[in-house]
């Protein structure tokens, strides 16, 4: 199973977990798998049309999946998937 690293701002929607093991053979399947376990997290990650939200960056290892096969990028048991949100620090 791939490992998804949950960034600080989203942890409260994922039972305060910092890492979650995810089933699936693509980035999208892995993220769908973890968001099925945490419905509140699902709302943060996917828009109403079911697409991954555009202000989040998703990385496979150190590479942005936009430069690979986007959400269809393949993952293996050793893959680390990072969700990187925009953070501004201080007040919004």
């Amino acid at each position: 199973m791939a490992t998804v690293i949950i960034p600080t701002p989203l942890r409260k929607f994922a039972g305060n977990a910092s890492k979650i093991a995810a089933e699936g053979s693509t980035v999208l399947e892995a993220i769908q798998h973890i968001s099925a376990q945490y419905p509140d997290l699902h709302k943060q990650l996917f828009d109403d049309a079911g697409e991954l939200r555009s202000f989040l960056r998703i990385y496979k290892g150190d590479t942005d999946i936009r430069t690979l096969d986007s959400s269809a990028t393949s993952v293996s048991a050793e893959t680390i998937i990072s969700i990187v949100p925009a953070i501004a620090g201080g007040t919004l």
Binding site: P7, F55, I87, G89
Partner: protein, 386 residues
Amino acid sequence: MSEITFSNAELARYSRHLIIPEFNIEGQRKLKAAKVLVVGTGGLGAPLLQYLTAAGVGTIGVLDFDVVDVSNLQRQVLFTVADVGKSKVQAAVERLQAQNPNVHFVQHNVRLTSDNALEIIAQYDLVADGTDNFPTRYLVNDACVLLGKPNVYASIFRFEGQASVFNYRDQTGELGPNYRDLFPEPPPAGLVPSCAEGGVIGVLPGILGSIQANEVIKVISGVGETLSGRLFLLDAATFETRTLRVVREASNPLTGTHPTQTSLIDYDQFCSVPSNEDAVYLQEITPLELASWRNLKVDFQLIDVREEHEYEIANLGGELIPLATVAANADRIALDKKVVVHCKGGKRSAEAIQLLEKQFGFRNLYNLKGGILAFADQVDATLAKY
């Protein structure tokens, strides 16, 4: 660069730089010739300004519009108790000038806006962004791109930090990515919590601001490899670090294949910050009115949309429904009487009311103006302020 000279006192001061073989007096000359603008004198700005001052950057612009507040002292280590209430820029420059009299400081006691950003940033070689909100992040980025200035970036949230170098042209002339390549658009207001809700561990801006200072020195001196094209991530809670690759995007409106943006825009609108016009329709109640409702035994419901740990610090006895769970708990909110909604300062409760009005048709909601902090100021001085 050889026209830049140093007094013996300066040579003694900077000797630990001069004896680094690849840095030497040439690196120090570049620092002395450089003009750096530091935007924000807060948690990131404090170590950034102190290290750039100590390192001997020739001209440092210090920009902030705020005054020192007692809640800043937990992380903004430039300031002391005696500075509370003073202009941040003035307090910072007084301290920094004493630290290194050789540095020329320029005070910008203003808020950076689309009207003044180009004029101010044009006076500098590079910008270090230590701001605390999305509109200013995009403003600094866009102004730097339009003017061709490198933007040394760091950002923090709770235990998490990010750093990078944007819009940096390397020695071969290759232009690196900018903030819009990494984050084409900001999160919608309310979806990702702001730091005012989330807080930040005081040491974290110290770490990230120091990394920023190091990147500024590398950009100026040309020594080492900058974070251009890379995003550094630190989770200070677990001490896991990652460095991810950032690439230029063809769709970037400023530097993509078909640029569509050639000037600065309205960044509050871009980041969906509610304008005053939106707020006109919000029913409000002042802390004094709330106190009189209580005294007169008016039948109303009080809802607190802060987080549980905030409730523990201080509360008004309201029902706790954190903002993120308001929609799921809409059935707990009365329809048949007045309902006062409050948070710490009034922003989150306004968001909650807008959501409840829009999605569920509530018309009986009142926002407590200034939140529990204003209530503590105006009605109940025994409440803890945080």
